[in-house]
Symmetry: C2
Subunit: 375 residues, 2 copies
Amino acid sequence: MLHAVVMAGGSGVRFWPLSRRARPKQFLPLAEPRSMLTVTAERCRPLIGRRQTWVVTNAAHAPLVAAMLPDLPAVNLLCEPCGRNTAACIGLAAVHVLRQDADAVLAVLPSDHAITPPEVFRDALARAAALVEASPQTSVLFGIKPTNPATGFGYIERGEVLTQANESTPPLSPLGRGEWGTDVLAFHVRRFHEKPSREVAEQFLASGSFYWNCGIFVWRASNVLRLLAEFQPEIHERVQRIATALGTTEADAVLQHEFPRMPAISIDHGVLEKASNVIVLEAPFEWDDVGSWQAFARWHDTDGDGNAVDGRHCGVDTHGCIVRSEPEHLVATIGVDDLIIVQTPDATLVARKDDENSIRRLVALLEVRGHGRFL
Amino acid sequence: MLHAVVMAGGSGVRFWPLSRRARPKQFLPLAEPRSMLTVTAERCRPLIGRRQTWVVTNAAHAPLVAAMLPDLPAVNLLCEPCGRNTAACIGLAAVHVLRQDADAVLAVLPSDHAITPPEVFRDALARAAALVEASPQTSVLFGIKPTNPATGFGYIERGEVLTQANESTPPLSPLGRGEWGTDVLAFHVRRFHEKPSREVAEQFLASGSFYWNCGIFVWRASNVLRLLAEFQPEIHERVQRIATALGTTEADAVLQHEFPRMPAISIDHGVLEKASNVIVLEAPFEWDDVGSWQAFARWHDTDGDGNAVDGRHCGVDTHGCIVRSEPEHLVATIGVDDLIIVQTPDATLVARKDDENSIRRLVALLEVRGHGRFL
């Protein structure tokens, strides 16, 4: 059966002051009126029901997850004692899911990306799952066709076309095969590439055979454990100890002991780059990692002066700004261009739009200057 | 006896969103931690006690005045049914004060100016009062020595020096005559000048015989009525009807009927420009009308990057900004220069510092766009 493993353990600061330590990006309504986590879980329905939906998050954020996904079964909410990157996260999820479903196929999903339309996404997931069902040792990734020489993503270099991709997967989509089915391109993965320099990214873009790695993986839970055993034996060993203790009174103590001791490594770097039988499907859906306020702006309407507004704004001689406010708060501007203005109940940011990376510097400064309670 | 008539009927928008219709400038702590009104009343103490302190305000703002001046006797809080400029305001105050003190001398004071140091101000007031005591038909104004060719003030052109000014007034100041007494210059007023053009203002500044009219007047209450009778007979007549009704059950009805029917004219234009025996004292105190956010900035410390902050601010690459926030709210900035940022609980302004006059345009726009509740 197909399960969703939603990874909600992130803790970024790029959306400060909207994102906070207590409320990272995935819990914010950045691209749609509901939180990215909620939208991520609901995007999979009805293909993946609530009992097959699993969320892995930091223990501190568990109450927030439970509030945002009120119909999620409590046993499906998995708490990491601390962040240990994605290999440990997915290993933990795999042993939990396997206890319920020995044949489980996992769709591992970041909780903080925007994807549309949902029906095309579900179709693509179903197709990937069918591939994995047919070939249990296969790992499937989704690759995003690059639109620009981005340096912030890892790249997947495709190899030979997997000719049987379309033949082996039935047309599951309510849209019908004719809508997009013939366009789903599947390839063997030739190689993974780390975030490239601008020059290299331009070569990747020009070659036409590179994809952005969007961090969506479809594979059998048993295959995940097999690959961990092969390439990350320490993670595998500790995950197995956690698995053995599940359902006993020792479960939490074992988790607290084993999890923080796992190597912190990404599933891409620690497992998939080393694995064989890795397939990349060219994503037939629109994807955005909503990684910045500029990306946020793409998901909101702009007024006649090019201002993207989420909230309440009134501007005189104001152009190209990104304005976010609480629903009942008014942000007024006079004679300013290309600013990011983010109002929240206890903190407001005013930043030059092209200086967004300085948010990290600002966050460091806030700590130093004794404003840590605003983080 | 010397009484203070504090005029608190103003309703400006220059400090939006800090100032609102419900809370105009005089009720804000712009130059000091307490409201300008509170500071204005307290600046006169102990020279002028609470029973000799009178506040004229719009009826809508009476509760605010009472809250800010809790020891003000209720009878000393005078409510205008509507704004009718300063001649009507001062006429109303004069008849109220005269009921208590037939020999009253009035120090008419705007409620929204910053003046320091208070002891020098009180000394100057006492000196002006002594002049008026000695010469009951004299009206005394304070003139501010211009520091720049400002076009936003009326000017007072001085005539002959009043040689007896210093001899006729005893050294009332605790600072002693030596501190400043010999520097108090008194002149007959030659002429009043409306707000001038830049060129004319430059001539005024260069000539050395012009002062800014800061709207502070010292005169007998009986003299005020005499001058109103002579130059503004309609105001005088209606004010007398209000006076006659004082203490009767008709008082409020008469006020409501007469006050709105008075011509709306300033005391300067309507009375003082036409009067004789008008003396200008060169103000020995520092004076600022705090007429803009730029002026606000002068009353607050600047950090090493030239940012004037009233509240909580943390900036990266931020220079020359004026930042105001609620005490517990953090305003963070990145890569911005010369902005005015004003955060309040329900509205935030971000404006270019040199574009401040556009606040009027903004306020008009807020009304048009249905944001009137933020005004």
